[in-house]
């Protein structure tokens, strides 16, 4: 029994080891914390540069939020994973209600664009938090599942609904980027728990078949984003302008960049949304190829650490949670950077911890807290069907 030898440190107790608060704090990975702090620091520098070398209006608030959320991350890391598992469904459904409520309120109140709740220091978008809630919910569901369960199609209907309901709500907002991310997240977790590949093949085939249908229901601006992506030169001053200018900024940065605060494209406002979605472009213009590669490496290390944490956990809930959150982070980074480099269409996905914006930072920091919680409580053993 490999689990016995692997848990020799806690063999005095049958079942779950109970850790003191101090022991839990000690268990928090210092490497991970340093990586997160490094990302936060890059974010503040980026925001400082985006404001032409001023703390106002972005860098100061960015640093403050990061500080508050960092404390929150540590706090979440200390929460018992069994409690998290118990709370997984309530959190999922509460979030779903919030999402539906905001959607309904937005429609009723005639505030079509208002999809957030003001919490004071951040404006909360339920669609961002839904990603975490979905991972929690799916982790909880598959925690109870044996491989045999997973192989039964009927067993997959409930988790499929857990994915598709929020995706539908988010797409209706309409928020294409977040909707697709939720879909990919769900797909990744299904894949991880061992759903047969042919089932994915079937679903993808259905999805491709549905493309013409989806196209019909897409808003004009969403269609334009896709067509502009396919040929940005057709509309150099319209939607394609963003991609073109972003590529110019990136390319002109060269190997070593133009230097901190010296990015002409960014500072002369050719770069749109430079403090949010296009912050990676600004950083690459000023820090060059090596700066960009370093930042991507930093993210890759965080993701790899998260996967490592997941694989080391002794409970399926923790494994799925940490892996799902790591994949979520990777998707954020990939979609954002691929977008600003003109590899995929412009979808509003921020760069975690670097882009200005409270909700995404909050979601990412909660995710980090949960990964740390999985790490701290990696030896908690939870039986199937029992938490």
């Amino acid at each position: 029994m490999s689990w016995i030898s692997a848990s020799s440190r806690t063999s005095h107790a049958f079942g779950t080891p109970e850790l003191s608060l101090a022991a839990k704090v000690w268990q928090i990975s210092r490497v991970f914390v340093v990586l997160v702090l490094a990302l936060g620091a890059v974010g503040v520098l980026g925001q400082y540069s985006a404001a032409n070398g001023h703390m106002e209006p972005w860098a100061g608030r960015h640093a403050l939020r990061f500080g508050v959320l960092f404390v929150g991350m540590i706090g979440i890391a200390l929460i018992d994973i069994r409690f998290l598992a118990r709370m997984a469904y309530p959190i999922y459904f509460a979030n779903l209600l919030l999402l539906a409520g905001v959607e309904a309120y937005g429609k009723i109140g005639g505030l079509g664009a208002q999809r957030w709740i003001n919490l004071g220091f951040v404006q909360l978008q339920p669609s961002e938090l839904m990603k975490i809630a979905l991972i929690l919910g799916l982790a909880r569901w598959f925690h109870d599942a044996t491989l045999e369960d997973v192989r039964r199609p009927t067993y997959l209907l409930a988790p499929l609904a857990m994915v598709l309901v929020p995706v539908g709500l988010v797409l209706a907002q309409p928020n294409l980027g977040t909707g697709l991310m939720l879909l990919m997240m769900g797909g990744a977790i299904f894949f991880l728990v061992g759903v047969r590949l042919w089932k994915f093949g079937l679903l993808i085939a259905c999805g491709v078949g549905a493309v013409p249908l989806v196209w019909r229901f897409m808003k004009d601006y969403q269609k334009r984003r896709v067509t502009t992506f396919l040929d940005p030169s057709t509309d150099p001053l319209g939607a394609g302008y963003h991609i073109t200018q972003s590529k110019i900024a990136l390319g002109s940065g060269g190997l070593w960049g133009k230097g901190f605060l010296l990015g002409s494209q960014s500072h002369l406002n050719f770069l749109p949304e430079k403090q949010t979605d296009f912050i990676f472009t600004l950083l690459c213009e000023e820090w060059g190829f090596w700066g960009g590669v370093s930042l991507l490496t930093l993210f890759a290390m965080v993701v790899a650490y998260g996967i490592f944490v997941g694989l080391r956990s002794r409970n399926q809930f923790g494994r799925i949670l940490a892996l799902g959150l790591s994949i979520n982070l990777f998707l954020y980074v990939f979609i954002n950077t691929a977008m600003v480099m003109g590899l995929i269409p412009v979808v509003g996905v921020p760069l975690p911890l670097i882009s200005f914006g409270g909700t995404s930072m909050m979601a990412v920091m909660i995710g980090f807290g949960l990964i740390l919680s999985v790490l701290v409580h990696r030896d908690s053993r939870m039986r199937n069907g029992e938490i």
Partner: protein, 605 residues
Amino acid sequence: MNLPADLPRRRTLGRRAAMLGGLHVGMLGLLGARMYQLQIRDRERYQTLADENRIAIRLLAPSRGTIVDRYGTPLAHNERNFRALLVAERTPSIDRTLATLQTIVPLNDDDLQRIERDVARKRGFVPVLLRDNLPWEQVAAIEVHAPDLPGVTIEIGDVRAYPLGPAASHLLGYVSAVTEADLKADRDPILSLPGFKIGKNGVERQHEQTLRGVAGTAQVEVNAVGRAVRELARDDAQAGPKLTLTLDAELQKLAYEKLAPKRSGAAVVLDIHTGAIYALASYPGIATDLFMRPIPQSVWTELVQDPATPLMNKAITGVYAPGSTFKVATALAGLSTRKVEPDHTVNCAGHFTVGDHTFHCHLKGGHGRVGFAQAFAKSCNVFFYDVATRAGIDAIYDAASTLGLGQPSGVDLPHESAGRVPNPAWKKKVSRDVWHPGETPSVGIGQGDVRANPLQLALMVARLASGSAVSPHLTKTGVRNEWSRLPFEARHLDVVKSGLEAVCSPGGTAAAAQIKEPGMQMAGKTGSAQFRRITQEERDEGVHSDDLDWDEADHALFVGYAPANAPRYACAVVIEHGGHGNTVAAPIARDLLLEVQKRNPGAVV
């Protein structure tokens, strides 16, 4: 505890996590490759694109070249013009700023509407014109109240000034805003500068390319909305060079003043040796600031409908039947073809018959037997009906063409008319009819279809007096004295010149207008061009051309040169509907020829 079940699912999870991890590595590799492509392989291309983005070339307007007369007196120059501008984004409240400005500079509703429109249309940092041509006191007041007028700045610009005013308005032309048509015709990017003005008529238009100067450029760093952040390099504009005309400003003014008591007319004075134009006036002139701002429709309609045609430069564009002044050409036609000899005489009984058509002399009883001298002096029509009939229309056409009629003189001004000397070929072209012998006598006395502009008439006497193919010019470059000789014998020219001297001698039609100063006497020919033919019925009823309304009366003409014994200056005067050449046009020509001899501009090269 269902622990054994955990192992297979943990293995699957591990395997699949590794697969996803591999996918992640692949995707990261894709990102890295894209970054390599953009930032290393294509770096230079994007660097260039970034610089093109960043650096904008701004044109700097050159100041327009001044125009001076032969003595260096300014005819057109640039004056400083103080303009108040508003940068909308620098004021918290446009309304309040405008209200404060109103206490210093009164703005009318038109101004306010225009400002409101410009503010709405232009970007916040682009200055909007509030008011130009500000007097100094208002400029000072605005500067003093600057703290209460956020966003208001004073700019010094150029405005074209014409010291001679209406007197040289046609000759010099004007400058005005660039139109769409101008932009199509001229690709010079400077035309697209806001507020840039180009020459639209006269000398301003003729020498537009020279006067305009060469635009400078400034390389400025701009941001995405086009706001200049700083200047990187500057290549200053080159002002247009000074343009010197052959004109004599004083003489030009005098010509205009002499025309002013009349309702409409034109006068030209030129140098017989060089072709230099000393005065070229058309009355009425136009206010020189007329075209500087949009013209109200009512004012424009009034100008267009004015029978005195103030918008036309009558000295080169207006065409008139030359009347008796054309007898110069008729005489030379007859003499040069040897159809008549210098001692030719005709008995004038007051009328002349060709076929079944009778032509009248202006003296009812007739002049009796007259030769060239008396025929010119008395302006006997019958004599010239006879000469014309003998010479034939082709000879008249040749002589008139040689003297410069019927084709543009080639003077360096726009909108010169060609005039017309009719001949059988022309008639066939316009009416598909043959030339009737009965038409020749009319042409012989400058009636019928003969048309000439005042400059051509001055040129005609200049060529007669010099016997050479002198051509007029207005720009003082490359003064010419050598012209080819005309194909007329000197003795034939002398016959005509003697005739013109007789006109201004006792007994001649212009005797009263003779210059008294010794050695300055003029020779010339009067003319009264029929504008409306008096019918036989009216003639029977005793209607005389003097009884007609202004706009039906004859045009009064005079062409002449001085000094009579050594011709140097030629002059032509046309007074529209002025009546008689001898009493109306001749005195003006006399005054101009006297003054030009006194000033003697030909002595200043």
